[in-house]
Assembly symmetry: C2
Homo-oligomer: 204 residues x 2
């Protein structure tokens, strides 16, 4: 089939267990690459430029933004983050499937500039799980937990804009679902136009 | 997720190996049921009514057709064949995924009356395989093989109207592709509206 990889955009509320599902996916499906983001924040211990992030100055970041080099970008607490088009396209061109884990706002931006991306929403099986997980892992105040829960519930509403919803009742099953989605997308007629043309015209 | 099964319409030219791929699929994925057709031809040895076919008289068949009881139907050499809506809907309602192996003409009829069906085209990897396979398995005249090959190549051109194309280079891989397609379709947001509504509204 066609060699170019798929861009898979993954979102989901905090507490949905995205990280765990994606870690299982990557370990079962070696053709998957994580996108590496560009950031203006300082590297933390053990973070390696080009592996964890591409570390840039604010000036470099703004120049990239101006040149349309981001699939999406945003600023949080005065630091900028963006998904570099060159890196994603390089991996896709080499035949890797690239996963981009971003919030729903960024995901919709990516869909806009890269309409062929596959949009996957990871959801908990129950609404109540979100609050439970945030509460279990957090050392934050009751007020902060409430704010985070509200924000997560707001993210849930964006699920309808996605192509697929993967319900994380079990992370292994969630990973299998994502791998099936990738496999199925590779079988889509729209992703195999060249093969079909060759077949009909006798090139193959 | 939602309990209702998927209707999977499978077509492909003679010589593509549809039967083998579907047999592997069914043995790996027990939730799959074959649709049983209605026919006016006489039962052959060991054929059981309700298992291989539903055997009907021409009058019964025409009455069913008039009542819109077929998802698609046609006549070949004076005998009639049809896909009974009641049988398909009963299996789907019980949560089974139903596979319907029909020609491209019938497939497009089904899509028309049942737009939620998933259309899968099984194709050989090479155009030349079609003639080779027809030649190998056939005891027919050169003229008949040529006619069958032409008709198979005509079927190939219909691939563009399908959702997915499964290339049968290896029947096991073809079966895995079909199972992935079913799995992915079950994750589609449009097939999980009720789950998402419940999640957002707090029903879950």
């Amino acid at each position: 089939m066609e060699k170019k990889g798929l861009l898979i955009v993954v979102s989901g509320p905090s507490g949905a267990g995205k990280g765990t599902v994606l870690a299982h996916t990557a370990s079962k499906y070696p053709n998957l690459k994580y996108s590496v983001s560009v950031t203006t924040r300082a590297p933390r211990d053990k973070e390696v430029d080009g592996v964890n992030y591409f570390f840039k100055t604010e000036e470099e970041f703004q120049a990239m933004k101006k040149d349309g080099e981001f699939l999406e970008c945003k600023s949080v607490y005065g630091k900028s983050y963006g998904t570099p088009r060159f890196y994603v396209e390089k991996q896709l061109g080499e035949g890797y499937d690239v996963v981009l884990e971003i919030d729903t706002e960024g995901a919709l931006e990516v869909k806009n500039v890269y309409p062929d991306c596959v949009m996957v929403f990871i959801s908990p099986a129950k609404r109540s799980t979100i609050e439970e997980r945030l509460r279990n892992r957090s050392t934050e105040s009751e007020e902060q937990i409430k704010l985070r829960t509200q924000s997560a519930l707001k993210e849930l509403k964006q699920a309808v804009f996605y192509d697929y919803i993967v319900v994380n009742e079990d992370a292994q099953q969630g990973a299998d679902d994502i791998i099936s989605i990738i496999q199925a997308e590779k079988c889509k007629v729209k992703n195999n136009k060249k093969f079909i043309d060759d077949l009909i015209l006798g090139g193959k």
